[in-house]
């Protein structure tokens, strides 16, 4: 009897729109109709607007159907979709879906294609090539490759990864750590989650390369508690890696020891700040530490520590495997390689778009995103999470790279882009930014702790039409104090969404508005 391979994603976004029911129904129908189906639960391809996206293996390649609802499954079987037949939901060959085909997947090369926890799939798709190569290289050679690749931190600050690793390598300590920041607290971002759920071994490989490079034998992944599925997948991946002798006393049979464990967050945004994260891993309140000392010199439990974001570490295996040249020829200026953009919010085609730096905001929002989901005009986008700036469509020609965004008065952050239609109230959004800061501030410094509360109050008054011009002046003063006087970017960058909203949507913050209400 012929067997057919069918893919249904098992990541939490796909399941949030019914992938589990679709998978169950496919198994049920297959049994009932005596069609021999092997069901693979892959990660999502990142085209979240097409989820649940069902694929079947055919001679020509994988063929896609979507978005599939549980009630569509019988008709898919009627049409013999398992042989790649056409159906109302046919999308053709997955590789030919323009939205996916035109991307440049490097960090996300395997995500959605493989079974996340199959080591065989992993190796067949190039897994371990980087680590095997790294085991034959000198630490300084690895760091040289990393530096030449141009890789910068994908968690928000954009610090060059090579310099960080070199600092840890050169610090004289017996004990060192590699910490992966998987706190991904920014609204509008989900790339870390999708990677951990869809290709967990890549992150483990990247961390292991970091460990053998700087001489650390212990890794910790700090995953936010809102991501229970990512935690589960990473835990299972670690167990598998240990069983196969990849992690443990002798990494891939070498003399290097490396182990990884997971710590779960507990619902605190500021614990994504690297030193607050260290405090949290140490079991304490997530209060930000003063720098210096840098974590690379005195980090976890006082030991030299590499702290990198999930995407930073997950880009390392490909960079080592294919060489820094291949990576750094992508991108623009000092923003080299690819960025995993995340299209979110009121967007028609949301999901993961990995491209070289330098694509325009317009291309992301309008070409990939297809405008708003509601069909109304785009009024604003927030780039870079809750601490990022709001931009109107008139500035959509911004090149999406670290420097251009800074110049435009924003920041790239973790690469999230949240789209709003014309029903959004920008004053309300500015107020929310202050409220969020007040709620999540660690409380260590006054400008952030008090400024945010006061800022939210003032915006509340302005929304009520009370002394708008006077309150606006005080608000701008507070923003200045927060920007200059905060210890970390929580308080330091909260003024960014507030001031950008005031700048680009001035009329909503003027006395006219009060009269209108």
């Amino acid at each position: 009897m012929k067997t057919y391979t069918v893919y249904v994603p098992s990541d939490s976004a796909s399941r949030s729109v019914g992938a589990e029911a679709v998978a169950e129904r496919i198994e049920f129908e297959a049994l009932k109709r005596k069609v021999h189906v092997i069901l693979v639960r892959n990660g999502t391809r990142g085209a979240l607007w097409l989820e649940p996206l069902v694929e079947v293996e055919t001679e020509l390649g994988r063929t896609a159907y979507g978005p599939v609802c549980v009630y569509d499954v019988p008709s898919l079987f009627d049409a013999h979709f398992y042989e790649g037949a056409t159906h109302r939901l046919s999308l053709g060959l997955t590789d030919n879906i323009e939205w996916l085909r035109s991307q440049d997947r490097v960090t996300f090369a395997r995500v959605g294609i493989t079974d996340p926890l199959s080591l065989r799939d992993y190796e067949e798709h190039g897994g371990f090539t980087g680590l095997r190569k790294a085991l034959k290289m000198e630490p300084m050679e690895i760091i040289y490759e990393l530096s030449s690749s141009g890789l910068r931190g994908r968690g928000g600050a954009g610090f060059p990864a090579g310099i960080k690793w070199r600092t840890v390598l050169q610090s004289g300590s017996e004990k060192k750590y590699v910490c992966c920041n998987a706190d991904e607290g920014d609204s509008g971002t989900f790339a870390d989650r999708i990677l951990m759920e869809g290709d967990p071994f890549t992150l483990l490989e990247g961390m292991t390369i970091a460990g053998i490079t700087v001489g650390a034998d212990e890794g910790v992944i700090y995953i936010r508690s809102e991501y229970p599925d990512a935690i589960k997948t990473m835990e299972r991946a670690i167990l598998i890696a240990r069983e196969k002798g990849w992690l443990g006393q002798n990494v891939l049979g070498s003399s290097h020891a490396f182990n990884i464990r997971i710590r779960s967050g507990a619902g605190s945004y500021v614990c994504g700040e690297e030193t607050a994260m260290l405090e949290s891993i140490e079991g304490k309140r997530g209060v930000v530490r003063s720098k210096p000392p840098l974590p690379a010199i005195e980090g976890l439990f006082g030991k030299p520590t590499i702290i990198n974001n999930v995407l930073t570490l997950s880009s390392v295996p490909a960079i080592i495997a294919d060489g820094s040249d291949s990576y750094q020829k992508r991108g623009v200026g000092r923003s080299l390689g690819t960025q995993v953009f995340q299209l979110a919010g009121n967007v028609s085609r949301g999901g993961i778009v990995e491209l070289g730096f330098g694509v325009t905001l317009d291309s992301l929002v309008n070409e990939y995103g297809g405008g708003t989901r509601t069909g109304r005009p785009v009024k604003a986008v927030q780039v870079g999470g809750p601490l990022g700036a709001y931009f109107p469509p008139s500035s959509f020609n911004i090149s999406m790279d670290y420097e251009s965004l800074l110049e435009a008065g924003g920041m790239l952050g973790h690469g999230g882009i949240v789209v709003f239609d014309d029903s959004v109230d920008m004053l309300e959004q500015a107020k929310f930014a202050m409220e969020f800061c007040a709620e999540e501030s660690c409380g260590k410094c006054t400008p952030c702790r008090l400024g945010s509360t006061r800022g939210a109050e003032l915006l509340g008054l302005m929304a009520g039409g009370i002394n708008i011009e006077g309150n606006k002046k005080i608000l701008l003063d507070i923003c200045e104090v927060m920007t200059d006087g905060s210890l970390c970017a929580m308080g330091g960058l909260t003024p960014l969404p507030v001031k950008s909203a005031m700048l680009h949507f001035e009329s909503e913050f003027s006395s006219k508005k009060g009269e209108l209400r």
Partner: protein, 141 residues
């Protein structure tokens, strides 16, 4: 979700595993909450003792993290994402609708489902493109 009723012996057994790990206070609190559904007052002294820290320190950690609760969770634990990406697709209206329907819920900041918002989490089950109807339906399942 079902939790085990508070038992000092069970708690001590859990703590014997967590307290030996580096930086034990937070994971001890998390373990207690995962098992019993919340962190009862009686657990604080036990954790302090097991981790060799003061009660005040345990209390400080307990109050810092919004996940940690000192009373049992409601039978239906509903969390509604109220962060920006979900705001842009109507989380404020959803909140209003749920309030009108008399449903108690907690606010949450992002479940990483921001392309398929509004996101709602009911007893750890994540729902995308949630509406008052889909939430009420899930509640009645």
């Amino acid at each position: 979700m079902s939790y085990v009723p508070w038992s000092k012996d069970e708690a001590s057994r859990l703590l014997s595993q967590t307290s030996v790990q580096p930086g034990p206070v937070l994971i001890s609190l998390q373990a207690i909450q995962t098992f019993f559904g919340y962190v009862p007052d009686a657990a604080i002294g036990l954790i302090a003792l097991a981790c060799n820290v003061t009660r005040a320190e345990v209390h400080g950690v307990l109050t810092f993290y919004s996940d940690l609760r000192t009373a049992p969770p409601p039978t239906h634990h509903v969390r509604v994402c109220v962060a920006e990406a979900c705001q842009s697709v109507g989380s404020r209206a959803l909140e209003e609708g749920l309030r009108d329907a008399g449903l108690g819920y907690e606010q949450a900041f992002c479940f990483g489902n921001c392309a398929l918002g509004p996101a709602v989490n009911i007893n750890s089950k994540l729902m995308g493109r949630a509406s008052v109807d889909s939430v009420m339906k899930e509640m009645n399942e």
